[in-house]
Subunit: 372 residues, 2 copies
């Protein structure tokens, strides 16, 4: 049996997880691993190199796995690998969200596979389920909790910490980056939603064309007041299809404590799809070296077992116009009485849930859908 | 673009759902549909036949879809289709649970695909996730609620009906068959668990080699007493890997009311996998014409887009020896005091949860794991 030869770009937690899983495989072999500084890996048993050309120009390498992260040089390496007629597997949500359509087009042109299961939901096989199963009938909406750092911070605030304390703790424990903005400002979730939207609706909506609100304006007192009403908060990403548009929003959203989102802690993610066939949910580890590596290995397997798709995913950009949903409004000063507005669906001390059609309100933090 | 030509064996709810989805497809075409009595389908716009040979012997048909149900002649038709070098997609859990290994071996021999996503979890892409994603690392256990009829009956009993009343209502509404034994005695769940076990552990455990308990001995009073303790009941199928054996059990099991299983109603199913990568759950419609048809269509797509697998699923039967788990014990007479036994983990009026190692107890209904 001929082995599939793999070149690994990057050797962090996920790259090492891939190596670990493949050590027991007869069919898949890691031929080379790109690292930035060879001297940091003395004693490591792996075919290391610090020269990307040794992977990208090696005719014996069939599949390039990119787990470096960041837009550049990751995007450039992926492009070169495809041009060299290698299939590519990546876990890089930034690259896929930004360059997905053109990389998919390039892959189609060179008749190679470009797969990115690990870029959304870590170890949950959500993209394959979406692209190959659930979208056999039209999908109405996709939503999920796709960021573990915000789960952790919101849970800490629920235990009594301030936002700043919770963030500091997450950083100290390695659950948040030193620059935490991608997680707490919602951009990490937004990139994942862009990818989900691309596969669900064949439209690659940029986060900048939707609404992206993070959790940094959430105060511990908001969470306590909501809990008294039997509600909890999660950072939710949601896109929905409308006749001529797609709604796209990432925002903190309130749910009854019995909701599946409030049972998610740490890196556990949940992603749901609503279609004519019903509501389908996938839950599992959204991060972690081994978990994320399982998605990468399954992509490699799929490449090994398949001919390049005869019908690649079609991407027809078409953008947001109108959306329908409710949103949660918090008052900056929870002691102030709520303003008089029509159509309050639910309210409590310092917050209320209202239809999205209401205009801006003075002195309030609003988490909502916005028409583009 | 050449169309994939499909022969449909059976034209019930699921078969009609497949036809409905494929009507808008350019790439997949239903060439012929086998029905038993042509006269029952007057006015139906479909290429009907009552002669299976017109499908099985037609060299233009690429894929045979079997949605007749029952062991025979379904098994025989599937075998003939494979021998005629057609790929086969089936929703038939009875055939797959009983003849899965030999049909997979035959498919491998003739280098055709044999796929059965719809046989477990209806519209939930659980088998593809399991075989191609989640099993990249060893799976420790698989469990789920995979039967909607029992969800419905248990919910009706929770509302105050007796078992007999609830069953009668389910039958009247079409949620249970006139012969309801496959659902209520646990055999439907057991067949699905056999398939899950086959893919998760590469062992095709027959239901007869495990423990299969249905819900017919559950009384409304059991459910009421459990609810007072914050517990609810679902028919759960569970298999787990042990060093030299596989535990296999279908039984009513008690959970806190906040558990995901108690949020499942009607045909909604949930299936979970525990592996080194974490716990992954899939939830969605476990039955219904359109939902089940989406799984069939995704299987057909997979065949259209792939060469036959170079590494088909390996099936190495190896059987049950020991299992570790707790089980729930109900007393036939809830008014009688509980017997004195060691290691009661939790108890209430008329029931208790005990480790599996306890021996048989007089006067009690026991739902438990049994060492083979």
């Amino acid at each position: 049996m001929e082995k599939t030869q793999i070149g690994l770009l990057g050797f962090g937690t996920v790259g090492q997880g891939v190596l670990q899983i493949l050590q027991s495989r007869e069919d898949l072999h890691i031929a080379k691993v790109l690292v930035r500084h060879l001297e940091n890996y003395q004693g490591v048993k792996a075919p290391l190199t610090d020269n990307a050309d040794e992977i990208l120009s090696d005719p014996d390498i069939d599949v390039v796995v990119e787990v470096m992260g960041g837009l550049h040089p990751a995007f450039d390496f992926i492009t070169r690998a495809l041009e060299q007629r290698k299939s590519v597997v990546t876990a890089n949500k930034a690259v896929v969200a930004r360059y997905g359509p053109e990389l998919l087009a390039l892959a189609r042109e060179v008749r190679q596979s470009f797969l990115f299961e690990a870029s959304v939901g870590g170890g949950i096989p959500v993209l394959d389920a979406l692209a190959n199963h659930l979208s056999t009938v039209p999908i109405h909406s996709v939503e999920g909790v796709v960021n573990g750092t915000t789960n952790f911070i919101l849970d800490q605030m629920d235990q009594g910490m301030s936002f700043a304390q919770a963030l500091e703790r997450a950083q100290r424990l390695g659950f948040a980056e030193q620059d935490p903005s991608a997680d707490i400002d919602g951009w990490d979730s937004a990139r994942k939603l862009t990818i989900l939207t691309g596969l669900a609706f064949h439209s690659w909506v940029a986060a900048e064309d939707g609404v992206v609100e993070g959790i940094s304006r959430v105060d511990a007192s908001h969470i306590h007041r909501m809990r008294e009403m039997g509600l909890g908060l999660r950072l939710v990403a949601r896109a929905e299809r409308h006749p001529d548009s797609i709604g796209f929003v990432v925002a903190p959203a309130a749910y009854p404590l019995s909701h599946r989102y409030l049972a998610l802690h740490g890196s556990q993610n949940a992603i749901g799809f609503l279609s004519e066939a019903g509501a389908t949910w996938l839950e599992g580890p959204g991060a972690g070296g081994v978990a994320t590596a399982t998605s990468i290995v399954s992509d490699i397997q799929r490449i090994r077992r398949s001919v390049p798709d005869r019908e690649p995913i079609t991407l027809l950009p078409s953008f947001v116009d109108s959306v329908d949903d409710t949103y949660v409004v918090f008052m900056h000063d929870p002691e102030r009485p709520l303003p008089e507005v029509p159509h309050i669906l639910r309210s409590g001390p310092g917050f209320m849930v209202v239809p999205h059609k209401l205009a801006e309100l003075e002195g309030m933090v609003q988490y909502r859908y916005r028409a583009k």
